[in-house]
């Protein structure tokens, strides 16, 4: 009985410690918005954003030491990217669900490692642009970030969450500045 109680307690403690909290819904990124304006693109619709492999565990949760983060509204990190792209395009008036241009993406890499001292995060998507259903652009873009990470979890975990979520607008900025993408949308 004592063993069963101890076991239950351990499971409950583990569940509490491991609970993942949702990140914020997509927010405005000034750098991404500026990059979209500078790219002088035509309005486009946003197609599906998915993970490369179905059931990819880090599409639903990222571990940050003893804590975890998950996408907002019970979605996936790949669809979060699609929502973020839509939000940035909407802000600059470049989102048009009726456009013949469609941008979609497949998440191929997604990780964060808030190690003590030096932390790192990586995000990579394969972006696809079609015009009237015909492929005009396909490319994998990847963003890496490194930052100083405290020994103290209470400082390191929020820092890691902030640095990790900042990877998404950085990747949009990178896509907008890509010369091949810019040539494809002309």
């Amino acid at each position: 009985m004592r063993l069963r109680t101890a076991g239950l307690g351990t499971i409950l403690l583990a569940m509490t410690g491991c609970a993942a909290t949702p990140i914020e819904p997509p927010q405005t990124s000034v750098a991404a918005v500026r990059a979209i304006i500078a790219a002088n693109i035509q309005p486009m619709k946003i197609g599906p954003f998915v993970a490369a492999k179905s059931g990819m565990t880090n599409d639903r949760e990222i571990r940050l030491r003893a804590a975890g983060i998950k996408p907002p509204n019970g979605s996936t990190f790949s669809s979060y990217m699609g929502e973020l792209v839509t939000e940035q395009f909407r802000i600059v008036g470049k989102y048009d669900p009726g456009s013949s241009l469609e941008l979609s993406g497949t998440m191929v890499e997604n990780r964060a490692n808030p190690a003590i001292g030096q932390a790192s995060g990586t995000l990579a998507f394969e972006f696809v642009l079609t015009r009237h259903g015909e492929l005009v652009f396909r490319k994998i873009l990847r963003v890496d970030q490194r930052w100083d990470s405290s020994l103290i979890g209470a400082l390191a975990i929020p820092e890691a969450e902030m640095q990790y979520t900042a990877l998404y607008p950085k990747l949009i900025e990178m896509l907008m500045q890509d010369p091949e993408f810019q040539a494809a949308i002309k």
């Binding site: 990140i23 405005t28 918005v33 909407r90 802000i91 969450e161 902030m162 979520t165 900042a166």
Partner: protein
């Protein structure tokens, strides 16, 4: 049995300092006190410059920490920024999407925490609050206003700061003592927008822009 006694003694060794720390934290003298820096202050009625004709504007706002996008803080502050801009009287409408006329206000607010703030906090903990400490958060805000699509932007930069003390008695020379961080950031946003928009209105007036 000896092991059990050692275990009980170790619990006391841990819990007595813990109780002292909890007691000190409960003591208002050692609680964190938050101050808004006095350097910037408010814009007086005499100093205020207004637009001749308030127009709708699209506001694009982002909060950053040490230069990196901070989605959590952006989400918390964006509505406050919009509300304060509308109350300021500079604009007839404040929107997050493009508006008629194409006016935009792009604002970033970058929080630069004082170096080694965490180290100072640990020092306070280790000395049970006797050391006392003051840490500062600096805010560098950039406001960029374009009166119409394609118009030359008018740029203004505004600096502000929030100071937090732990283990020290209230000291109003540090800044304006406020209830908590929420009230402090509300005042900072208010003063940054007041000075930022005043600076933009001044530039608009001198360059002959509407």
């Amino acid at each position: 049995m000896n092991n059990f006694k050692r275990y009980i003694r170790s619990l006391f060794r841990i819990s007595i300092p813990c109780l002292i720390i909890i007691g000190m934290m409960a003591n208002p003298v050692h609680a964190a006190k938050v101050y808004v820096d006095r350097t910037l202050g408010d814009v007086t009625a005499e100093q205020k410059i207004v637009f001749a004709e308030p127009k709708p504007v699209q506001v694009i706002f982002e909060f950053r920490t040490k230069g990196s996008a901070n989605a959590k803080a952006t989400n918390y502050l964006k509505d406050i920024v919009q509300r304060k801009l509308l109350e300021s009287g500079y604009f007839s409408q404040v929107s997050t999407v493009p508006v008629e006329g194409g006016a935009t206000l792009i604002m970033t607010m970058d929080n630069i925490p004082e170096e080694d703030a965490a180290g100072k906090g640990i020092k306070v903990g280790l000395t049970l609050g006797l050391a006392g400490v003051k840490v500062s958060d600096f805010y560098i805000s950039s406001l960029e206003y374009s009166a119409a699509a394609g118009a030359a932007p008018l740029k203004v930069e505004v600096m502000h700061a929030i100071h937090t003390t732990i283990g020290k008695k209230p000291n109003e020379t540090i800044g304006i003592l406020v209830k908590n961080q929420d009230e402090a950031i509300d005042i900072v946003v208010h003063q940054v927008l007041a000075h930022g928009m005043n600076g933009i209105a001044k530039l608009a007036s001198s360059s002959g822009q509407p």
